[in-house]
């Protein structure tokens, strides 16, 4: 039986390799063109209204082989939203279970598995990639670069994510296929030892591997952003007028560079403990707390990895619809850098109740309270920017304001948690869950939506449906506040986190939280509908400056690029003279070109 399996695997691997080799040899054939000699012809595709460039292969192969930063940005975005849907469905199942106090719909083990996949997916497969999507598409445009510094590494970084996702999610289908021999990990996203060492389920190994790959991906992406922002800036862009979003991407990439490799090493140590009998985290080895230190040394910077670029998006978008320049631009940059440094000095605030030395606790409390200062600087600057401004409540602006509101609640609850005596009471309750969800969903996701709507005309050439976007906003806003305020209250009442069942006294608040979650979920359905239908058949934008930023003197480089691109596209189709073929065109791969 075992031998048959080995032989089958060998055959599968052999077939795979031959298939790859065949594909590559064909690809090399029809790609035998010289990109410079082709004259860079472009024409407007029927469907998308975007200019296609003849150096790109057509159809699905284009997406598999692209190294263009904009294409890769779109890929990151599509991947991130898909992961968002997976994590969202997981959490709706959990919230459905939590609508009643006893276990009704799913068992406790499946609940744990869903909770683990929800956390990991949202942080590593939605959060980090969706920010990379914005970064890839817009940083080069904003700083006047031709592309990212290392386009191929950029593509590798993206393509590591799909296998990472497959590995992280594989436990669910494998549980059915193998009759439970392998099942989804139930470690929670923090993977605390000794629990994560003792769960013998091989599904945990798969998840750790997937996480490891996603970490490699994030690190490669970060190196690329740093190199791009340092060395690829256009002539007119220097440090003094670098835009705020690029500043936050730069700082974020720096944090990634110092924290993700550490996560990678810790994951390898965990894998070794699980599979090869090492004792890094065993009681007679490094001890279980070692994991917590390593994990949170990565884990706290990770939360700032997730929040800094959204702060950058808000700092970029919010002034455009306030009709005023960002108040105290310099201080927003300084506070970004300050957060980047301080974020490495607060990790033990996740470990206040583990019995570590009180003197250590006190110093980590001090730094944690200090990090609230730069965060508050930013918040005040956003508010002062809006103060007396000419506010235009378009969808991206609504989401920015929603960000600020939710960030205030999330931040203030964080400051409470940073105070040791308060934390000893609230640790491991729903209060913590409420705190970080105000930030990750209430703030980060809102900023993501703001960016998606703000640049929608730029990457699709079309406009979204405004009414639907406002529905999306209000449902997300009301839903998130209902859910997460209910969680804060549950936490004050002492409801512990990470349970599928609870005492009857918590029933009402849990019901509100569930209702809020489904309101949010409904809002996201509207969002998907809006994006898909508008992308396909929304009204074409009529100018290169759909937000009329010129009027307030705040047009940024990416819109100038968009304007140039529109001009180019029009010239090319009108004259028709540039639609030349090059060497690579006379091939069947071109047949479906027009559909792309």
């Amino acid at each position: 039986m075992v031998e048959a399996g080995q032989i089958a695997l060998t055959v599968v691997m052999g077939v795979l390799l031959v298939a790859v080799a065949t594909f590559l040899s064909r690809y090399e054939d029809w790609r035998s063109y010289s990109p410079l000699a082709s004259g860079g012809s472009g024409y407007v595709g029927e469907g998308s209204g975007q200019a296609h460039h003849s150096e790109k292969p057509a159809g699905i192969v284009r997406w598999l082989t692209t190294v263009d930063h904009k294409d890769i940005g779109i890929l990151y975005g599509a991947f991130g939203l898909f992961a968002f849907a997976w994590g969202g469905i997981a959490v709706l199942l959990m919230r459905a279970e939590l609508a009643t106090a006893t276990s009704q719909i799913i068992g406790a083990n499946f609940y744990n598995a869903l909770m683990t996949t929800h956390g990991i997916t949202m942080l590593f497969l939605f959060g980090t990639p969706i920010l990379a999507a914005f970064g890839n598409y817009f940083v080069p445009l904003l700083i006047g670069a031709d592309d990212m510094a290392f386009p191929r590494i950029n593509a590798i970084a993206f393509w590591l994510l799909p296998p990472a996702a497959v590995l992280i999610w594989a436990g669910f289908p494998l549980a059915t296929l193998t009759g439970g021999d392998i099942s989804a990990a139930e470690t929670s996203w923090t993977m605390y030892t000794p629990l994560s060492v003792e769960q013998m389920n091989p599904g945990v190994d798969l998840m750790l591997l997937g996480l490891h790959l996603s970490g490699v991906s994030a690190t490669m992406g970060a190196i690329n952003f740093i190199a791009t922002i340092f060395s690829e800036r256009g002539e007119s862009v220097d440090w003094a007028n670098l835009d705020i979003f690029s500043w936050t991407m730069l700082t974020q990439s720096g944090i990634i560079l110092f924290s993700f490799p550490l996560l990678g090493s810790a994951l390898v140590m965990l894998l070794l403990d699980r599979n090869l009998g090492t004792t890094f985290f065993a009681v007679d080895g490094g001890g279980a707390l070692l994991w917590q230190h390593l994990f949170w040394f990565f884990g706290h910077p990770e939360v700032y990895i997730l929040v800094l670029p959204p702060m950058g998006l808000v700092s970029l978008i919010l002034p455009r619809f306030s009709g005023r320049k960002l108040f105290g631009f310099k201080f927003v940059v300084y506070s970004t850098l300050a957060i980047g440094v301080l974020s490495f000095g607060v990790w033990a605030h996740h470990m206040f109740s583990t019995g570590i030395d009180p003197r250590i606790r006190a110093s980590f409390m001090a730094v944690s309270l200090a990090i609230a200062v730069p965060s508050a600087v930013k918040t005040f600057n956003w508010i002062t920017t809006m103060w007396n401004g000419r506010i235009r409540l378009v969808a991206p602006m609504l989401f920015c304001i929603g960000f600020v509101q939710n960030f205030i609640i999330g931040g203030v609850t964080g400051v409470f948690l940073a105070s040791v005596p308060v934390d000893l009471v609230l640790h491991d309750t729903y209060y913590v869950v409420g705190h970080f969800h105000f930030i990750v969903m209430g703030a980060i996701a809102m900023a993501g939506f703001a960016g998606i709507y703000y640049w929608f005309p730029l990457y699709t050439g079309r406009m979204y449906q405004k009414t639907l976007a406002k529905w999306h906003f209000w449902l997300s806003m009301i839903g998130s506040n209902a859910t997460f305020i209910a969680m804060l209250i549950l936490g004050y009442g002492g409801m512990p986190r990470r349970y599928a069942t609870y005492l009857p006294e918590f029933a009402n608040m849990h019901l509100i939280a569930t209702a809020g979650a489904f309101i949010m979920g409904f809002g996201q359905l509207i969002f998907v509908w809006n994006i898909v239908t508008s992308w396909l058949e929304g009204p074409k934008v009529q100018s290169g400056d759909p937000w009329d930023l010129e009027d307030v003197g705040m047009k940024t480089k990416e819109w100038a690029w968009f304007e140039r691109k529109r001009d180019t596209a029009i010239t090319v189709t009108d004259g028709g003279e540039e639609v030349a073929t090059d060497g690579g065109e006379a091939d069947s791969a071109d047949a479906d070109r027009d559909e792309t």
Partner: protein
């Protein structure tokens, strides 16, 4: 008129290798951790082959066959050290790297011979 706004002239806008570099690494890792011998060897081949391919494409190595031979030396050394110094399942993992290295070496040698007879 800006013919290709935002597009670089210097880079080809497409490369077949990144997908396979990424998938090769993933497959190799699974093969090593679980240990599944054929998966580890296959993943290694895909990974090493694509790395050499991408390096050649971007001009960092001139001759892909020499690249394969160089890479095989690395695999052979690492594989041999692990294989010789360990027992049990770790031994098996080392063996996978070693066997992968042998195949890569064979590919490199065969490729350069083939090319020189056809040149």
């Amino acid at each position: 008129m800006d013919e290709q706004p935002g597009l670089s002239d210097e880079y080809r806008k497409a490369s077949p290798w990144p997908v396979f570099v990424a998938f090769g690494l993933a497959i190799f890792e699974v093969g090593i951790v679980w240990p599944l011998f054929p998966v580890a060897v296959g993943g290694l081949l895909l990974f090493v082959g694509s790395i050499v391919g991408i390096l050649r494409e971007s001009g960092y190595v001139a001759n892909p066959w020499n690249g394969l031979v160089t890479a095989s030396v690395l695999c052979l050394v690492v594989g041999a050290v692990i294989t010789l110094t360990t027992t049990g399942s770790v031994h098996l993992r080392g063996l996978a790297v070693l066997v992968g290295g042998v195949v890569v070496l064979a590919a490199g040698v065969f490729g350069s011979l083939f090319e020189s007879t056809h040149a």
